[in-house]
């Protein structure tokens, strides 16, 4: 993004807040605080990109993935990097899929409903106004009416369906499932971005996961971050925060970060840690901070994100169009479920390298069978889910003995499905297989996959059992706030980023309120 003319703050000027990380959790905070007149500096580990230079290529897109090594273990080891972790000004939203369902009301109170999982310390009614603000601001395209929430209105009409969406619509029709155009944070029309550049309409290129070149996709660098800049925020790319200095009372007084090999120290009145659900707990564990609850790193969650693929007689060319343009929420509470919670179903198109990785890695093909499958790329279409993962004490982020270039210990993530995820997964797999059979797919295969990084610094009402309060403030360090996917107490069936942004605005406003109240 264009950082020209940005306001600069001196290192020894105690700014009101330093925001660490400029992704879905950090950017809205930065914008909201700046809009309120606060002096704010964002430290972003990754580089600043000009989206026009993204190249529509899966290998060249490596630049937007977080490549600092993480160790993945447990019974269902999750892939990181291109699978779920971004870097750069804009964070993971540079390559996110921009699929933005709102969570179901019941998911926020799962424990009350089922005795499983846990309740969020905030209900849907309180969040809806934030969702509406975010959706209006970043420009969400979606169906009208939205079958599962008739009152909901999306600001923009849906983006065109692609081949896999057409097939899923057909299959759902045959099996009596409701499906409709997905809510996508992609502008289907030219969009006058508040506080930022005019955004052109989506050109259906299909490269959302490799970086959108024209700003049609709502990444933070074309939405909240330009707004933040306009209100005087400063963004420092290539700046890795690795230390927090505190005074005698325990309050944070400065953030230490490394830029171009040199350490700097930014004085500040408060810190928002928004480095994502792996880097945030990793930093806190490395520094031994904010962990009186012992909860930092615990309840790591990835969504159950199994996909089913099949080959169709018609050429699909699934690389074209917004990749996940159809949704069904009918399985948020399946009638015949033997598990708590539920899942969303979406149509899938992926670029060839992503597909090939799955075929070779998870489907396990090699030799002539691998060639045959890849050669059929233009005829493939997929369907996938995003399913509830219950918090589980075993699923945990700890520190490995190996260190990175900064001397910080690497993250070691242990993740595995429990019975609830296994049952949900079996249910979803059977449903998707059936849909793809109904649609006439041949050579159907299942790709087990875990998506997203959530949990590890859960929010809650009590400092005994949670790292932050319901607004994201640390129970231990009063001027340390966390705003990113790490605060999720449970995963919810919905994809996370919309909720991360909504919570970010809510945190920022709680912070402002406290500042006002002294």
């Amino acid at each position: 993004m264009n950082l020209d003319g940005m306001r600069h703050h001196a290192l020894n000027e105690a700014v009101d807040a330093v925001v660490i990380g400029t992704g879905a959790g950090g950017a809205p905070v930065l914008a909201r605080l700046a809009a309120a007149g606060l002096r704010v500096v964002a430290l972003e580990a990754g580089p600043n990109f000009a989206p026009a230079a993204f190249a529509f290529d899966e290998t060249l897109a490596d630049e937007i993935y977080w490549t600092g090594e993480r160790l993945s273990g447990g019974t269902t080891p999750e892939a990181f990097g291109a699978n779920n972790s971004g870097t750069g000004v804009g964070g993971s939203t540079l390559h996110w899929g921009a699929f933005v369902p709102r969570p179901d009301r019941r998911d926020l109170a799962l424990h009350t409903e089922t005795g499983e999982g846990c309740d969020w310390p905030v209900g849907l009614d309180e969040l809806v106004p934030f969702y509406e603000r975010v959706e209006r601001f970043i420009g969400v395209s979606g169906a009208d009416p939205y079958p599962w929430d008739p009152g909901r209105r999306y600001p923009l009409p849906p983006v065109p369906r692609n081949g896999p969406a057409e097939i899923m619509a057909l299959a759902c029709g045959q099996r009596g499932l409701r499906a409709t155009d997905a809510p996508a944070a992609v502008v289907s029309r030219p969009f006058a971005q508040e506080g930022g550049p005019e955004r052109e309409a989506c050109i259906n290129c299909g490269y959302c996961h490799q970086g959108c070149r024209n700003g049609a996709k709502a990444s933070m660098d074309v939405t909240y971050l330009p707004l933040a800049l306009r209100h005087g925020a400063e963004i420092r790319p290539g700046s890795v925060a690795h230390g927090l200095e505190r005074d005698a009372s325990g309050r944070v007084t400065a953030v230490v970060y490394r830029r171009d090999g040199v350490d700097h120290r930014q004085l500040c009145g408060a810190v928002f840690l928004c480095a994502g659900a792996v880097e945030t707990p990793r930093l806190l564990l490395n520094l031994g901070l904010a962990n009186a609850s012992g909860q930092v790193g615990r309840n790591y969650m990835g969504h159950v994100a199994t996909q089913v693929w099949g080959s169709f007689p018609d050429p699909i060319r699934m690389n074209r169009g917004y990749p996940s343009s159809l949704i069904s929420e009918d399985m948020v509470r399946p009638r015949d479920a033997d598990f708590a919670g539920g899942y969303l179903v979406q149509s899938l198109g992926v670029q060839p390298l992503t597909l090939a990785n799955a075929v070779a890695r998870t489907r396990g093909l090699w030799g002539p069978a691998l060639h045959a499958c890849l050669d059929g790329y233009n005829h493939l279409a997929g369907i996938g889910i995003n399913g509830e993962t219950l918090p589980c004490d075993e699923n945990r982020l700890t520190l490995s003995d190996e260190t990175d270039a900064l001397g910080l210990r690497k993250a070691q993530i242990s993740f595995g499905y429990s019975e609830n995820e296994r049952r949900l997964n079996a249910h979803a797999t059977a449903l998707m297989r059936d849909l793809w059979e109904a649609a006439g797919a041949r050579d159907i295969w299942v790709l087990e996959r875990v998506a997203h990084t959530l949990g590890t610094c859960r929010m809650g009402r009590s400092g005994d059992a949670a790292v932050v309060d319901p607004y994201g403030r640390s129970f231990d360090i009063p001027n340390l706030w966390i705003s990113d996917g790490s605060t999720f107490p449970s995963s919810l069936a919905a994809n996370p980023a919309l909720t991360i942004m909504a919570l970010a605005l809510r945190s920022a406003e709680a912070f402002l309120e406290r500042a006002r109240d002294g």
């Binding site: 993945s72 081949g163 050429p315």
Partner: protein, 490 residues
């Protein structure tokens, strides 16, 4: 035999442990009309029995001095067994620019000792060390037995007598030096991958340095190697099969120089798409770079040459029709340290995991009777299937080693890394009929860093292609060419 421009005017020939310049006489006679032969005595052997300097480097110096004195315009270097290791060391020096060795045009490795420590049973080594210093009678008996142990069929009595006499003529210190250290010197890293066209001759009945040993230990160091197996022959090929050895050498010296690596085959339509306005310049430049042919003598940076050969062999089973050297590109990526942001916590860091995985695969193959590189496609597939299914029996002695469970994860990583490289190549995208590269073009970049007016796709539905979208391309079967792994030709 017609002479090509590449043909040398001298064949410098080096003998085996216990041999001498005389070992090459039968072959030299048969090559007389083709190329002159300068057979040398290595320090401690033959007429040079009084000369010292027995390690590989010293022997190479000795030979280099003789070559300097002979001043050939172009020369070939043949080494038999121990002499082959010296020849490999000299070839490295030649390729590194040693002016005395500048004319080296061909290598001939006859039952050659490999660059790495030579596999030899400890018991045999000890016995050979024991009798060389014994009384005359024992020496005479054992020297003859040594010659007999090393042939596939008995030599003519006169030849056997001469060979036995050569053994007895050798300085016992030179003999010991080879067995105790020369054969154990590890030149694998120094020799790396040689560009000089090479002929590997192997005796079908040779033990450690037979066809399997050559495929596993020596061929990986040679970018352009042809392997010929002389069925029924043992280790002393120049004495046992002078006709065949001479004929093979003559053919090798007359063969055309290895061709430059062929450019990637991309169909004209797809090449036109890449060149068109629809493809953005950054992507176009990347595609052109990825289409560059691979250097057949690529020097591995993260792996050693043997591990690279193993990786090529594995990749050739994973993506048999790839058509370019994925393994070399994987090695370069491993060496660059560029990771993908994670690894299985059960595995060591990537480069280490590759070394250990390849070593373990080969160790398991050897435990089942033959090195991985000496197996045919079906044999390689069987081992890889065992690795994938978690039932590969990796000997405890493999070092570095992955256990069966780790092999499952490593082979998964390898497949993912291989397809990643495969899918980046424009020939692959052409084969798929992939239209995504044409979604963009340059557009007009604006001050905010956004691209305006990109064409994108107008049609997104199934069965509704845009007129310019490419159709899949069926390449002809790939002929393993320059960048293919060196395969034994029988």
């Amino acid at each position: 035999m017609p002479r090509s421009d590449n043909s040398p005017d001298l064949l410098v020939a080096l003998h085996f442990l216990g041999g001498s310049a005389r070992t090459w006489e039968p072959v030299a006679r048969r090559l007389a009309g083709t190329v002159g032969c300068l057979a040398l005595d290595l320090p401690g052997f033959g007429a040079a029995a009084g000369t010292t300097g027995y390690d590989v480097a010293a022997m190479a110096d000795h030979v280099a001095a003789a070559i300097r004195a002979a001043r050939p315009r172009r020369f070939a270097l043949a080494g038999h067994s121990m002499g082959a290791k010296v020849a490999l060391a000299l070839a490295r020096r030649s390729e590194d620019g040693d002016p005395d060795l500048a004319g080296l045009s061909h290598l001939v490795l006859v039952a050659g000792s490999p660059p790495s420590p030579e596999p030899i049973a400890e018991e045999r080594r000890r016995a050979m060390l024991a009798w060389i210093g014994a009384d005359a009678e024992t020496r005479a008996r054992e020297a003859r037995a040594f010659i007999r142990q090393n042939v596939g069929a008995p030599l003519a009595p006169g030849d056997e007598d001469a060979a036995t006499a050569d053994v007895l003529r050798a300085a016992p210190d030179a003999w010991r030096a080879w067995l105790e250290s020369g054969a154990n010197e590890d030149w694998a890293a120094r020799i790396g991958v040689l560009r000089t066209p090479a002929l590997i001759l192997a005796g079908g009945d040779d033990a450690d340095l037979g066809p399997a040993g050559q495929a596993a230990l020596t061929a990986p160091h040679l970018a352009h190697a042809r392997t010929r197996v002389l069925d029924g022959a043992g280790h002393l090929l120049p004495l046992e099969r002078p006709d065949a050895v001479a004929a093979e050498i003559a053919a090798h010296l007359a063969a055309a120089a290895p061709a430059d690596p062929a450019p990637a085959r991309i169909p004209a339509d797809y090449a036109a798409l890449i060149a068109s306005e629809r493809v953005n310049p950054r992507l176009r430049a990347a595609l052109v770079e990825r289409a560059e042919p691979d250097d057949p003598a690529y020097a591995p940076a993260a792996l050693d040459p043997v591990a690279l050969a193993l990786l090529r062999a594995v990749v050739a089973r994973v993506l048999p029709e790839a058509g370019f050297d994925i393994a070399a590109r994987l090695d370069a990526r491993l060496a660059s340290g560029a990771g993908d942001g994670w690894r299985f916590s059960r595995l060591p860091p990537d480069a280490h995991a590759y070394r250990a995985g390849l070593r373990s695969l080969d160790a398991a193959a050897r435990a089942e009777g033959a090195p991985f590189l000496a197996r045919d496609g079906a044999g390689r597939d069987a081992l890889l299937r065992a690795a994938q299914e978690g039932r590969l029996a990796v000997p405890e002695t493999a070092d570095p080693r992955l256990d069966a469970e780790q092999m499952v994860l490593w082979f998964e990583d390898l497949r993912a890394d291989a397809v990643r490289t495969y899918l980046a190549h424009p020939a692959t995208l052409a084969r798929l009929g992939f239209s995504g590269i044409g979604a963009g073009g340059t557009g007009t970049p604006d001050p905010d860093g956004l691209a305006r007016n990109l064409p994108g796709f107008v049609r997104t539905g199934r069965n509704d292609p845009e007129p310019w979208e490419p159709e899949p391309w069926e390449p002809e079967p790939w002929e393993p060419g320059q960048s293919a792994p060196a395969e034994a030709v029988r």
